[in-house]
């Protein structure tokens, strides 16, 4: 893993994508604001695969949408999103548009919603190519066929409508469309959640192959830690709008620095330990439309102590491994 550039270093050594102190608020239409993302810091190197995990409502999809500049109009964001050193958040839609789909692309969970039901999948990819001036006419049709083949769809199926394809094939088409402009970063938001295990394995294999072949950097947004374990090398665990732990997956699994990460793993049943009890994390995440006092995980934590009344900050545990938990700085009694 390359080390973070020193402050003031030139843009050459800047990470591919760097998110600094990202906040997102949703206006609740006169009923206050929901602070969905509360100061997220993340960086992504070329070719890296990062898993962004957490429960529903933890802010992982909102973070992904903010990176794509696709937040709804009721949302407001602050902080910086640097793509190769250039802030694409501050400049608004104008700054974002040249990069969306071109440098950063996204695949959503329900591929059906991402595809236009009245256009064939081939036509939709041709459209994407033409819209971004990548190719036109016969060249675009040829490129569209090649893209579909690269995701495992026989070119002959380019003339099919989305409803004529299975869930797995639709997800492959959505991936092909996301790759149309040869992006550097692919965000996959729960790409396999609605799919069967075997089709899930096919899609994960495809993503793995695409990352290797094209040097794509991947942000995999999911609640499924085992999927992240199989596909990613780094992981960021989100809870109540903030990152509570980030680092290499091996470190987070074997030496977790936050009880939430440990408990999330223990809540996923595993074929290797079928006699082991599966943990349930009692309670629910805090509401994000009111201020949070202390550690947001404290009410559900199995190791909370008196220091947890103060909200912990991300602290470094080892190189490239940070966690926001007072247990890590607790002086043994």
């Amino acid at each position: 893993m390359p080390a973070l550039p020193a402050p003031g270093a030139g843009t050459v050594s800047a990470p591919l994508l760097q998110i600094e102190d990202l906040h997102v608020w949703f206006d609740l239409d006169g009923r206050g604001e929901l602070h969905a993302v509360q100061g997220v810091n993340l960086s992504l190197e070329p070719g890296e695969r990062l898993g962004l995990v957490g429960e529903s409502g933890c802010g992982k999809t909102t973070t992904a949408l903010a990176i794509m500049g696709l937040l709804p109009s009721s949302a407001s964001a602050s902080g910086r999103i640097l793509l190769e050193g250039q802030d694409i958040l501050a400049g608004g839609e104008e700054a974002m548009r040249p990069h969306r789909w071109v440098d950063i692309a996204i695949v959503f969970q329900g591929a059906m919603n991402a595809l236009n039901p009245v256009r064939t999948v081939g036509q939709q990819i041709v459209e994407a190519l033409e819209l971004h001036n990548r190719a036109s006419g016969a060249a675009a049709r040829r490129a569209s066929g090649e893209l579909l083949e690269s995701v495992g769809i026989p070119a002959g199926r380019a003339a099919r409508y989305p409803h004529e394809l299975s869930g797995g094939m639709r997800q492959r088409s959505a991936i092909a469309m996301a790759l149309a402009c040869d992006p550097k970063v692919l965000i996959a938001d729960e790409p396999t959640t609605a799919l069967d295990v075997m089709v899930q394995a096919q899609i994960l294999e495809l993503l793995d192959g695409l990352c290797k072949e094209y040097g794509l950097a991947l942000i995999l947004v999911t609640h499924d830690l085992p999927v992240v374990s199989q596909l990613c090398n780094r992981c960021a665990v989100m809870y109540a709008g903030e990152i509570v732990e980030r680092g290499p997956l091996e470190a987070i699994y074997h030496t977790p620095g936050h009880p939430y990460s440990r408990m999330l793993f223990a809540a996923s049943p595993d074929l290797a330990d079928i006699d082991e009890p599966v943990l349930s994390i009692a309670g629910a995440p805090p509401r994000l439309d009111r201020p949070i006092e202390g550690c947001p995980f404290r009410p559900r934590c199995d190791s909370a102590f008196d220091a947890c009344g103060v909200r912990p900050r991300l602290e470094q545990l080892a190189e490239d491994h940070d966690a926001a938990c007072h247990l890590n700085s607790r002086v043994p009694a």
Binding site: G168, V197, A201, L225, P269, L271, V278
Partner: protein, 337 residues
Amino acid sequence: MSAEPTLLEVEDLVVRYPIHRGLVGSATRQPRRSVHAVEGVSLSLKRGEMLALVGESGCGKTTTAQAVLRLVDPISGSIRFDGRNLVPLGPRELRPLRRRIQVVYQDPYESLDPRFRVRAAVEEPLLIHRLGGSKSERAARVRDALVRVELSPPELYLDRYPHELSGGQRQRVAIAAALVLEPDVLVADEPVSMLDVSVRAGVLNVLDGLRSNGLAILMITHDLSTAARFAQRIAVMYLGRIVEQGPAAAVVRNPQHPYTKALLSVVPRRDPRDRTRPEILQGETPDAVAIPSGCRFHPRCPVAIERCTAEDPALAQPTSAAEGHQAACLLLPSAEH
């Protein structure tokens, strides 16, 4: 547990859904076709046992469950519940038996009426079945059901609406609404797949507790890790057939059928060092309208031989498996021959 008599016994169940030919199809006398959803499934369930029916979408697991609930009519086969065959029974005769076989569906957001408070949602089955006696007796039953799904104290939940509850709490309410009728069998169709990982185990532990108190549970799931952890027995379905069944630990640790082996190999593991070598089957479950000849798994099978295209294997105990563990594969030397 082995001394327990079998409570539910399904034998040679066949369910097909006819495909409408349409006006043109009928006029041109196209052949009548049907979806062969379930083709000769046999299974049994005892009190205090959870049987997990696993397989991909379209393998017939949900149709099997619906037949057990008598929500679809089988073409042939029998479903014996407590010694009585349910298949020939009409609606009037089924009614008292329906109380005893209840169901919980996947999506607690859809299965609960948003206008009903928890109290009303759990009480409704009693009113429909005209059970539970007086109003105060019904109220006591509702509270008892909530306690059994660990929504306690019940006072905290009785007056809430579904939208005020988390997904896990809603699914517990749905389970309570099934339990209030004191069923003998609970069919749980993907009971946790819509829930957050953090709360899944809570709901599964509730089901496990009910099971150890004598409830028989038929769980439909595509998640082998969950089946392995919570079920006593697993039956793996492929294209309308059970291709392997046995004690959960045996099926997971000593799988016999190539399909089971492939399914197990693609289950992601928690430990990043434990990266699986997935044996990915290409394509998806074939069409249940045109069932392949011979062994129906042969077109996707990594070890199929010529014989597999012609011979349809039956479930039998392979020599490499322990008693009670069966698989349907021609390549497995059978202990019974």
